[in-house]
Structure formats: C-alpha cells, structure tokens
Symmetry: C2
Subunit: 346 residues, 2 copies
Amino acid sequence: MSEDNGSHLRLPDHRVGFITSADVAERAGVSRSAVSRTFTPGASVSPTVKRKVLAAADELGYRVNRLARGLISARSNLVGIVCADLETPFTGRLLSHITTALSQRGMNALVIEFSENEEDLRDAIIRILEYRVESIVMLSGSPSVSIIRECVANGVKPILVNGDTTVSGAFSVVSDDFTGAAKAADRLVAAGHRHLAVVASASSTPVQQRRTMGFVKRAETLGLTATITLNGPVSYESGVAGAHALFGTRLDQRPDGVFCTSDVLAAGFLDALRTTYGLQVPDDVSVIGFDDLPQAAWENYRLTTLRQNPVDMSRAILAAIRNIDGSADRSVVVDVTLVDRESVRA
Amino acid sequence: MSEDNGSHLRLPDHRVGFITSADVAERAGVSRSAVSRTFTPGASVSPTVKRKVLAAADELGYRVNRLARGLISARSNLVGIVCADLETPFTGRLLSHITTALSQRGMNALVIEFSENEEDLRDAIIRILEYRVESIVMLSGSPSVSIIRECVANGVKPILVNGDTTVSGAFSVVSDDFTGAAKAADRLVAAGHRHLAVVASASSTPVQQRRTMGFVKRAETLGLTATITLNGPVSYESGVAGAHALFGTRLDQRPDGVFCTSDVLAAGFLDALRTTYGLQVPDDVSVIGFDDLPQAAWENYRLTTLRQNPVDMSRAILAAIRNIDGSADRSVVVDVTLVDRESVRA
DNA sequence: CTGAAAGCGCTAACAG
DNA sequence: CTGTTAGCGCTTTCAG
C-alpha cells in the first residue's frame, strides 16, 4: 500500500535488488523465523507478531523467494509441461486449463516446447528436471522408455496425456478415442450409411491409431468395411488430400459416411468436397470429426464431432500430480461425447 | 549412458531424492567447486578433472539444481509469461515462438494465465515475481500503472506485447496495427470500394482501437467515411453479429468494402454474409481480416488479411529481455504485411 | 509462541 | 588450475 519513500532502513550493503526476510525481520523487530512463519501457511505465530511482520513486509515490498524456499523444502511448486505443438488448437486449450488449475493450487507451469524428435524431447526433460519440478506433464510426443526411466530416476513420474497407454512407469490420461471413434461409426451407420471411410493423418501417433482402429473395428463388428486414407500431418491440407484420395478416382467406390480423426482434417475434407467435387454435406456425404474445436461450430461446417473434454482431462492430470507418490501406474480414460450438429444425414 | 546399477556410493543418509554436486565430487575424487566449474560454461577446469566429473555425474545421474544456482547468482533463467487467453489462436502461436526462442538461449518460460481482471493479473505477477524471473512478458491485458510499478520495484521491467504503447516504465513490442489497418483501407479503395465499414470487437483493447482508428483515419484522408460496428469479444459470433448490424437493416446503406479487425471476426462475418444474406465475397462485398490465422488460408475463406509476424515479434521480445538493464523505455513496432487472397475484388 | 543455529545445493572469492 | 571458505534466502529443529 504505502509508497516506498526512500526511507530504506539499511538495505544490505551494496545490493539494490530484492528485499529479504532479514530486511523484514529487522524492520519488524523480530527474528527471521518469525517472518518465515508468517508466510508459511499453518505455522504458529502470534497475531501480534504476524501483524507487525505483515506491515513491515508491505512497506518494504517483500516477496518470498521461492527459489530459496524450494531449495530447503525440496518442493518447487513447479510443474513441467512439455509439448511439441503449442499451436495445435486442442493442445493450447488443454494447456490453458492446466495452467489455470495449477494456479488455483498455488503451483506454476514451466512450459517447454520441443520439435518432436527424441533428442529434443530429452533435452527438454533434462532442463525441466533441473528446476526440480514436482512432476512432468507430456502433452505430446511419445517418450521412449529410456526417457521415462530418466524421469523416474530423478524422482518424478511423468504424466502422459493422450499418449501411448501401454507404456509403463508413467501415469496416463487419455481421451477415450477408441470408444469415441466407435460412436462415430454407430452414428454413421444409424444414418443409413454403408460405405464407410476414415480420413486420418499419416503421423501414426497413438491418438491417430486409436481413433482409426476404434472406427474400423466397430465397423467390422457391424459387418462393414471402412476404407482408410492416411495423409500428412494433422492439418487442413491433409483433410483436402483425404478428399482427393477418396473422391478423386472411381465414382463407384465413393464412401457416403466419412469419419475424420480430427476436426482440422474434417474442415479441409469438407471444403474440398464442396469446392472440388460439388458434393453437399450431409446430403451427399455425411462427415464426423473429432475434438470439437471452435471451428466445428462455425456456420460453414456445423460439424458433428466427438468432444474431448479438456476440463475433465486437466482435472485428471491434477489428480495425478497430487497423487504422484502413489507407486502404481495409473491410467485415466476420459469420456468423449458425441455432439450432433448438421454434418450427418438425419 | 551407464545404468545406475544400485552401487550408490553413499547416498546422503536417509534421503532418496536427488543427487547433489557433493555426491559427484566424492565419486570423482575432486572438490565440489570442480564439479560446479565443470557445469559452468566458460569456467576453467582441466580436461582430466572435467572428464572424471562428467563420468561420475553420468553414472550417478546428476543434474544441476537450478534453484540453488539461481539463489546465488540471482539469475533464475526464468522468464514469466502472463496471458489471459491462451486459447486465442495468435496468442498460442506467439507463446510457441517465445518458448522456443527462450529455450535456445537456455532460458525457460513460467506461464501463468489470468482471467482478465486486474486483481487476477496482480496475483499472477506477484507469483511470478516470487520465482525471481528475469523479466515478465505480458501477452495480453493492459496492466495498470500500479502493477507496472510493482514489477519495476521488484527489479523486473515488464514487456508489453500488443498492449498499450503509451504506458511508461515498460518495454513495448507491438504489431503495426495502425499502418496495417491503413493498408486495408488503401486496398479496399483501390479495388473501387467507396462504402467502407469496419467490424470490430466491443472489447476496446489497445489493439482493437489501433486497428479501428488506423482504418478510419486512412479512410478520412481519402475523403471517405467508414461505418463502425462494435460487437462482443473477439470471436466468430461477434463477426456474425457484425454482419447483422451492417446488413440487417436498410438496403441502401450497405457497405461494399469491409475491414474486420481480426480473422476470427472475418470468418463469422463472411459466413453470415453468405448464409443469411446470400451475398458473395468478393463479388458483392470485399472483406479484409487481420492476423493471418491458419483459417484465413482455408478454401472456404481465402481471406485477404494483414499478417502479424510472430517470428519478428518474438525476436524483439527476446532482444528486450536481454537488454533489460537498458534503463530507457523502448518500443518496437513490428511490420505487418498484406497477404492477398481472394476476398477482395480484383 | 519465539529466537538461535544449522543447513538445503550451489557458486564465487580467495589462496595456494 | 584447484580446493577451501563463505554465503545466496529460506525453513526448520531445538531450546527457551
């Protein structure tokens, strides 16, 4: 509140920088321990001392140094988050939810991005480890076993988000891609479609695989076969490519019910269908996406899609962080819900 | 490389956790200083000692504790990044570039999100300050003078990105919104449009204001008047609302050249134009957006827009971070380029 | 409830 | 080039 009006009561010698607990202690006429206790939730300090300390701290503009606190308590209150593709819509959203949730619990996110190759991931992890993070959340990439071991050796059990669920030594939080994709198949079949196809990315990430297989398997149990087309990264352009792959050739083999493993793919796919092939959605072809990105709700797409639930996911991630000492592997599968819009025939 | 095969040479008593430099020193048969020097770039160690230390460190899985290092050197190598809207496409992209650039310089990003109110921002800043960050980058929100003073008092000069350029006490990195918007006006007028309008968000952020005014002023100097419509937050829906505001009423007052202060706005605007009013772009109306989000390039929009350059921006931000001791305020304005697609009449 | 003292893991200043 | 000696700012026994 009060202005720091130059009356610095002896700043430590030549230093200009931060105010320390010693400064506050001196000003308040108490010991450093008293200051420490005042700022340690649940410590026992008399109201009188507390008040004096708080006043002095306020006047001086004192701020606990978390680095020092972390040094002694071995709790940095830092959580490392590594991801390869911050720009990816869903990753951004998830990160947003996680940082907010972390904040509410007094923790902070140390975010590192890496460029999707093993060596880079390793560097990122190591740097994060140097800050003695409480845990590491991997929002993308499939860390090798050696990297996971490295984390564990350093006392932090990694949390894999939408990663490979079969890896052991790590917590795992995933959306229920498999069931979600199956729902897509059901929906398409219920709408009367028999010529099924899936447009997926060629980057065979665990997510892509689960979604693709979830759809195909379900189609199989319904006695149907689904054509699969794999194109580039998860991008709009790959969706366009998927349309060409499926509709560019023999007219008699065209599918009428298509599942795209991501909304971005679906957007490209849909646009190409209209622009290049003059096809209407859902009149000529029904399309279902995955993720429920903001764009799925846009007028131009009105895409029926499977919604990943970032709120539940971040909740699960935070639960994993708190529970980090639980020695057993733990795997949380978060439900995915079908949101009906207008890209599937009624 | 080597497996940690249980031959721990005396781990500090009862502790199970991290390996310390003392452990390494003992194992390598040297002093702790030697270990420290080995891991300090540019320190003088003999190759022999270095090799021994490295070997021991590797066997033990030693990792420098940055918390402790930061404590003494007063350099945490941490940069705080606060933002309100990680989900916003451009913010995500910018964050991505910044974290990557930071990484390359051995620094790390402490990311905090806040919910756009003053009190929240303040809390975020304070938490970040507790980690003794080297500087604070504000990707959104317009911090009050008191908050900036708070930062400065704690020895970190904040870097405002796309914020209010008139605020003093902070570095400023902004896209050249004003000139960009003027370019939009020029482009529209060159295409023969005389009935100009701008669709902006009602959230009167500095960015929105600069873009709106840049367009209006330029129109004025060209002897034209531009209608302004302000609608909600920067969102797709607000773009739709903008279309209704402009085209829902008197037919004789409809603009034929519209500038949307963001691509998201433009997307909604454009879709509504087609869907609700049966208008063609650019045949009936020309539209220009801002930001050059990925969606602007999508088939369905092919939006002519002003590109914000995240690479140059992050470069400027990093320069500001390094130069943090330069006492004078500094303001960097990053160029914005018009990218021509097909939403403006030829 | 409070202060004194010890020490978290590291680096830096100082002799050798 | 190397080891010894002091702390960085904080928390935490341990006495009182």
